[in-house]
Structure formats: structure tokens, C-alpha cells
Amino acid sequence: MTAAVTYAMILAGGLGSRLCLLSEKRAKPAVPFGGKYRIIDFTLSNAVNSGIFDIGILTQYRPLSLRDHIAMGRPWDLDRKRGGVELLQPFQGWRENDWYRGTADAVWQNWLQVEERGAEHLLVLSGDHVYRMDYRPLVEAHLARGAEATVATFEVPREQASAFGVVRVDGAGWITGFLEKPKDPPSGRISMGVYVFHCGVLREALEKDARRTSAHDFGKDILPALVERGRVLAYPVPGYWQDIGTLDSYYQANLDLLSPEPAFPLEDPRWPIFTPSTENPPARLGPRAQVRASIVTHGTIVHGTVERSILFPGVVVEEGAVVRDSIVMGDSWIGPRAVLDRAILDKRVHVGRGAVVGRGDLATPNRVCPEHLSSGITIVGKHARIPEGIAIGRNARIAPDLTEEDFPGGDVPSGEALERPGGIPAHAATSA
């Protein structure tokens, strides 16, 4: 990497409420993706492939599964004597340390990390995007143009831009306006959440922001303030970039991997995506297995039928079972003759024999989270046990850790949200 940037901070702390059950027990960057990865693997792999081996990950919400996943950073060659990877959680100190009030505040509370390294520029990344990117040309452009900050930008259809930070750019590439999640976006040019900052300028902005009443957020507060100074560069990035913001975008980004010529191929020897590999034998496909247009990982055993689906390690699909248009996470068991249709199953879900997950009308949105669960996907939380023979409708939501006794009425209609009746069982407290 250009010597000017040797340290990167990854923002990975947010509560991803729009991912519904998937992010209730884990930070969004730790959500499993694409058969063997977690979402943060893409950003981490981009960083090390770009030659950055000194990384701080800012976490706050449910960091345990992220911590387990990253550990000492070995899969990314980040278990190093100099540099490496460190999870930066909120801590108590003698001054103003507290819970992070926002992304900018998280960086500010850890500013000592930046100072210690004596770096002139800092790379700030997000941990919840799926993309491949070499950060080196970005840094080079930032340096060549003498920018105070540089924002990587991506082009999306204008009607989708209101979910993001939208930038207004002049003819020379300088950003003249930064609108965080505007209702009526002026264009489809959005911020990817990938920034390079001049440390001196950023320090000043963070310090000022910390004393104000604000959201303490990069998109809402820091960038608009810097844009006013007129030295924030836009750096357009082509190719594939996907924000895993909602359950629908999560589902779509996963199923996009299955197209014959995927826009984002997971396998690319020039730019591999690293992740801790599980100790599992190769996938085992029984004599009557039927697998079409699917991703199958090590440790899976398939005796039934799998179509347009993604199976994570250790998933077992028993004889006569059908898994269609679904995402099934690690160690789930799909009993004989059970059917999954447009379902997302978290880890270690047990689907009793003959049960159906995802049947019935598409039109009823979920009664608890109608805005995130209305496209027909049914989601089953970690460790839930679906009784034999019952049918669960579409847009339904089954809470984690439910057992057969929690389905007194048998079938679950479309749009229903089945919650845990009592308190949290003991084993639910473990990390995801």
C-alpha cells in the first residue's frame, strides 16, 4: 500500500435492525453470507489484498460472533507482530469514554489508535458491504488531488438512492453536496461508505462534532461539514457493490451468486475472499440427491432436492426433502419430505419431517416487521425446532430457540410472527 495509508478502521458496530432476526444476536458484519463467508470478510479481504495489514474494527452491538470469527485474524494473514487486526470495543476510561454514540464518535473515542501510528491519512471502511475493491488507486487519487477527504462512490438507480448518502459532484470531481438518505435524491451517485481522510482535518472535524449535539455519524455530520470546506473528492468505483441493508437485499445478493454468469463471482484467484475454514469433509451428495443452480459447501449432506439455494457447512437435507429458493445456514437439519420455499434459516434450525416452511399467500406482510418482511420470505431464527408436519406461511417470522412445544396451534399462517413465550433460554446467550 502507499506508505501514506497503512491503517484502516472498519465500522462494524451498528445494529442492523432491518435484517430482522439475522442480526438480533450478531452484528450485521457477522451475518453469514454466500455459503461460507460472513459479510465482513469482503471488506477485510479487500484490505489485505490492497496491502493493508493494520486494521481496527469498531464494534459495539453483539460483538461476540464477530470476535469469534476474526479471532487473531489468521485467515487474512492478520496475525502479525506488527499491525494485525484488533477489535475496538467501547471501554471505560478516565475521560469521556462511553458507549459509541455514532460512527464518528466510535472513531473519535479510538483516536489514540490513529495518533499512535503517526499516519497522515486514514482509511475508513464499512463492514457490511459485498464488493471487491482495490483501495490503492483510491488512495493514490486522494493524494494526487490533494484532497482532505475522498469518498468512493457508486452508481445505483436513482429511485434506490434514497437509502444511501447521495453526493453532488462538480465537473472536476469535487463533492459539492452530501445528502444522507434524501427523500428525493438528485442522482443515483451514492457514497459506498469507503473514505480516505487526511488525519489532521478529520481530527479537527471529529473533535468539533464530539462537542456538538448531533448523530455523531460520518454520513450525517462529518462529511457534510468537510464538504463545506470544498476539498472532498469523489472517486467513482465501477463493478459490483451491494449494501446488505435489508432482508430483501440480503436475500437477493445471495441468490445473485447462483446465476450462470454471476455479477459477483465468489471465486476469483486474483482477489480471493478469505474466511476461516471449518473442518469439514467435502459435500456429500447421496445416490438420489438432486442439486440444481445451488451453492453447496463442505460438510453438507444432501439426500433430497436442492434448487436455487445456498447451503452452509453442515446442513443436512434428508431424503424426499425439497429446498427451493432458500438460504440455509450452518448445521441446520431438513427432515425427510420437509419443504423449504423462499425461506432463510439461521444456524442449527431443525425442520421436522414433512414440515413446510413458506407456503400460502404472498400478500400478507409480517405483522411485527411489515416493512422488512413483505416479499414472501419466511425467516426462522437460530436453533428453532419446527414440529413435524406443520405448515408455516410466507412472510412469517419464527423466533430463535423455539421448540416444538411453542407451536401449540400447529400451522403458522402467513405474516405471523411467532415469538418466544418466556424469557431467554440459557443457550440463547451464546454467540452466533
Binding site: 454466500g34 455459503g35 461460507k36 485467515p75 451468486l257 447462483l258 450462470p260 463471482p265 465468489l266 471465486e267 480471493p272 475472499i273 478469505f274 474466511t275 475454514s277 473442518e279 469439514n280 469433509p281 467435502p282 459435500a283 456429500r284 451428495l285 447421496g286 445416490p287 438420489r288 440427491a289 438432486q290 442439486v291 440444481r292 443452480a293 445451488s294 451453492i295 453447496v296 459447501t297 463442505h298 460438510g299 449432506i301
Partner: protein
């Protein structure tokens, strides 16, 4: 297992002529097996599951793939401060520069390793075994009996070329003789797992007249001297990968509905260094039924009853059946592979056909290539539209121009001109 300390020596250096093109660039211990492993993973995993963490791997012939595979032993948690795995290749000395002349000689040349370990017992096992063995009970029994040597025995394998010397023992297990010329006695045979009490083994290796062969020059003299040598019958899964047929059979056994060797056993996982590959993707309508499939595979054609290693690409319209296909091999459009062992990085051209059918044994190696298998060496290219019959051997690195004809009958051999010969 701190007490008594055990040193494990894995013999992994012998050249396996009977593996032909599969064993020219590597020993049997380094042969890829089961979709993601190498054969030696079983020896190493058995050791760590049995609590044995002090391991030396003796290498000699074509050791690089083995050295690269084992590295510092991280995959097996053998990168340890105390013990761990050490690679022990033959090396030059001030006086006398010798290759290992045999199994006993390899131990003699590593006498310093044996002495430094200060082990009470020394477990010597062959690296070419596909087996799940818990050495714990064997060690316990060995200690209880006060054995100088325990020979772990298995039922005599059947099949041509598989005859081994029977290990005859009394009902109590004490070995009486290991006759070298007997008809089929039905007695068990050595599993190539030998457990020595260190004192006796060291004494034997220190003698000036010790010969090069472990069985003939160490085990038999111990027996002749009346030392307490016991047989320990093992009835679990055990295969020795000594020939093409043995390799193919031991591989295909994994595809049984209830395989005798369960790779999914969570209590006895077989460890291996994992490659950073994306998960396998099956795009076509060809169901890979009855198969094992590793990461990085891309299946657009049809696959049945086969073992696919990482990165195999089966193109649309191609068919792979009853075959073993190793890393990064490409089976192009419309090609057909049946009853074949295809090594790494092979290119099977469009519409080509490899294996299948019947025919006479291989013209140069009739004793080893007669069961109908086709063997394609690493990096070979089978020309588009080419036909390669049963019992055929295609050399490592053979190019399309090396094929004497587009259609090769059963039992043919394709040599690589100017390249390595198989």
C-alpha cells in the same frame, strides 16, 4: 499424553511404483484422497486424536508436496512448543552420504531424533494408510503386556497382488512367527503399524550389523531372540494405498450410502490444510448424485458416483461417472469421463472420452492396470474428440501432440515426449 511419552515416526518416503503416474511426483502418503485430503492426513489426525503430539515424518522420494502440505503442522494443531511435527528428510553428513536404504535404515539414520525424544515407546507407522485408528487402547495393552513390540494386525486383504506375510500368534496374542512363504493361511497380516518399546528398538538400531528392512532386520530378529512380541488385532477401517486399484477402491468406498469410513464423524475429524476457495456451485441440471464435492468446483454438466477435488470444472454437456477427478482439472463441453482417475490440472478436451468399457490389460503394466481404470497424469491434455479406452495410462504432462492417434484402444500408454516419463 505426557506419561509415558511416545514418539511417532511416520514412514512417508518410499516411492510407490505401483501407483504409476499418480505416484511419480509424490509418494502414496501425499496422494490426494477423499475430495480434499492427502493420505497422510489420516496418520496425522489419528495421532492427534489419540493424544500423540510428537511426530516425525520421514521423507525421501519426491518430498516437496508432502513438505508443503504439512508445513509446520498447523492443520493438526501440531505447531507446538513441546513436540509437534518434524519433517525428517535424508540428509548429507560429514562421514557417509546416504539415502535411506530401507525402513530400518531410515530409523538408523534418525537415531539422534529417537534418542532426543527420550520416549518410552516408539510408534512406527506407514504414511500410506487410510484408516481410523485410536492408538490409545493399543498403547494401553502394549504397556500391560510389557511388550517389546506390538504389531497391529488386520484381516488379510484379498485380491491379486495383495498377498502379505501372515502374523501367526498364540491365543494370548504372543506372536510365534511371520512366515514369508505360506499359502493362504487366513491369518491376519501386519497393518504397517508397529509399536516398539524404545529400549529394544534403540538397542537393535545401534547394532553395526542391522540391515535396511524393518520387518526382516528388526522385527524378525526380535522374534528369533524370544522377545515379547504381540499381535494386536484391529478390526476398524484400514486400507493401504499401494496400488492404483487399492486407491480407487478405497476412494469409491466413501460413496457408499453408509460408508465404512465416515468422514463426517464429529469426534474423529480428519484434519487437512484448507484451501481458500469459494463454495462449490452446481449450475446445470446434472445432479451430482452419489458424489463427494469439494470447494471451488463448478458443475455445469452431469456428475455421478464421483469424487471431485477443489476447483474441478465440469462444463455443460460433459459427463463424469465413477471417477476421481483432482484439483483444477477441466472437463470441457461434451466430454465424457468414466472409471478414470484424473490427476490435477488435466484438460479433457471438448467431446473427448476417457475410460469406460472393457478391454485387455495395459500393454506395459498388465499386472497393475487391468481392472478397467484409465489413469491420466497431472497436467496432461486429452485432445478434443479423443478417445482413451480402459486400462490406459496417459503420462504426466502429455500434450495433445503426444497422442499417437485420436482414438486409443484399451491398454494403451501415452508417453510425454521430452517430458517426464511415467
Amino acid at each position: 499424553m505426557v506419561n509415558p511419552p511416545i514418539l511417532v515416526l511416520v514412514l512417508a518416503g518410499a516411492r510407490s511404483d505401483r501407483l504409476h503416474a499418480l505416484g511419480r511426483l509424490r509418494t502414496a502418503s501425499a496422494l490426494p484422497y477423499g475430495g480434499k485430503y492427502r493420505v497422510i492426513d489420516f496418520a496425522l489426525s489419528n495421532c492427534v486424536h489419540s493424544g500423540l503430539y510428537r511426530i516425525g515424518v520421514l521423507t525421501q522420494y519426491a518430498p516437496l508436496s508432502l513438505h508443503g502440505h504439512i508445513g509446520i503442522g498447523r492443520a493438526w494443531d501440531l505447531d507446538r512448543r513441546d513436540g509437534g511435527v518434524r519433517l525428517l528428510p535424508a540428509y548429507a553428513r560429514q562421514r557417509g552420504t546416504n539415502w535411506y536404504r530401507g525402513t530400518a535404515d531410515a530409523l538408523v539414520q534418525n537415531r539422534n531424533v529417537i534418542e532426543d525424544a527420550q520416549a518410552r515407546h516408539i510408534l512406527v507407522l506407514s504414511g500410506d494408510l487410510v484408516a481410523k485408528i485410536n492408538f490409545g487402547p493399543i498403547l494401553d495393552r502394549h504397556e500391560q503386556r510389557g511388550a517389546a513390540l506390538t504389531i497391529v494386525t488386520v484381516p488379510a486383504p484379498s485380491g491379486p497382488g495383495e498377498w502379505r506375510r501372515p502374523v501367526l500368534s498364540e491365543p494370548g496374542g504372543r506372536v510365534t512367527s511371520i512366515p514369508d512363504r505360506a499359502a493362504d493361511t487366513g491369518a491376519p497380516v501386519s497393518s504397517s503399524v508397529l509399536l516398539f518399546r524404545a529400549r529394544e528398538l534403540r538397542a537393535r538400531l545401534e547394532r553395526a550389523d542391522v540391515g535396511p528392512d524393518l520387518m526382516r532386520d528388526v522385527v524378525e530378529p526380535m522374534l528369533a531372540e524370544g522377545q515379547p512380541v504381540y499381535a494386536h488385532p484391529f478390526d476398524g477401517y484400514w486400507r493401504q494405498i499401494a496400488s492404483v486399484d487399492a486407491y480407487y477402491e478405497a476412494s469409491m468406498e466413501l460413496l457408499a450410502p453408509y460408508p465404512a469410513l465416515n468422514l463426517h464423524d464429529p469426534d474423529w475429524l480428519i484434519f487437512t490444510p484448507s484451501e481458500d476457495r469459494a463454495p462449490a456451485i452446481v449450475t446445470g441440471g446434472g445432479d451430482p448424485a452419489g458424489s463427494l464435492m469439494a470447494h471451488g468446483c463448478r458443475l455445469e454438466g452431469t456428475v455421478r458416483r464421483s469424487i471431485l477435488f477443489p476447483g474441478v470444472h465440469v462444463a455443460p454437456g460433459a459427463v463424469v461417472e465413477d471417477s476421481i477427478v483432482m484439483h483444477d482439472t477441466r472437463v470441457l463441453e461434451g466430454a465424457r469421463v468414466a472409471r478414470a482417475i484424473v490427476d490435477k490440472e488435466v484438460r479433457i478436451g471438448e467431446g473427448a472420452s476417457v475410460g469406460g468399457g472393457e478391454g485387455p490389460p495395459n500393454r506395459d503394466y498388465p499386472e497393475d492396470l487391468a481392472s478397467g481404470l484409465a489413469v491420466i497424469g497431472k497436467g496432461a491434455e486429452v485432445p478434443a474428440g479423443g478417445r482413451v479406452g480402459a486400462n490406459t495410462l496417459v503420462d504426466i504432462g502429455a500434450r495433445e501432440t503426444d497422442f499417437p492417434a485420436l482414438e486409443l484402444g484399451a491398454g494403451s500408454v501415452v508417453r510425454a515426449r521430452g517430458g517426464r516419463r511415467s
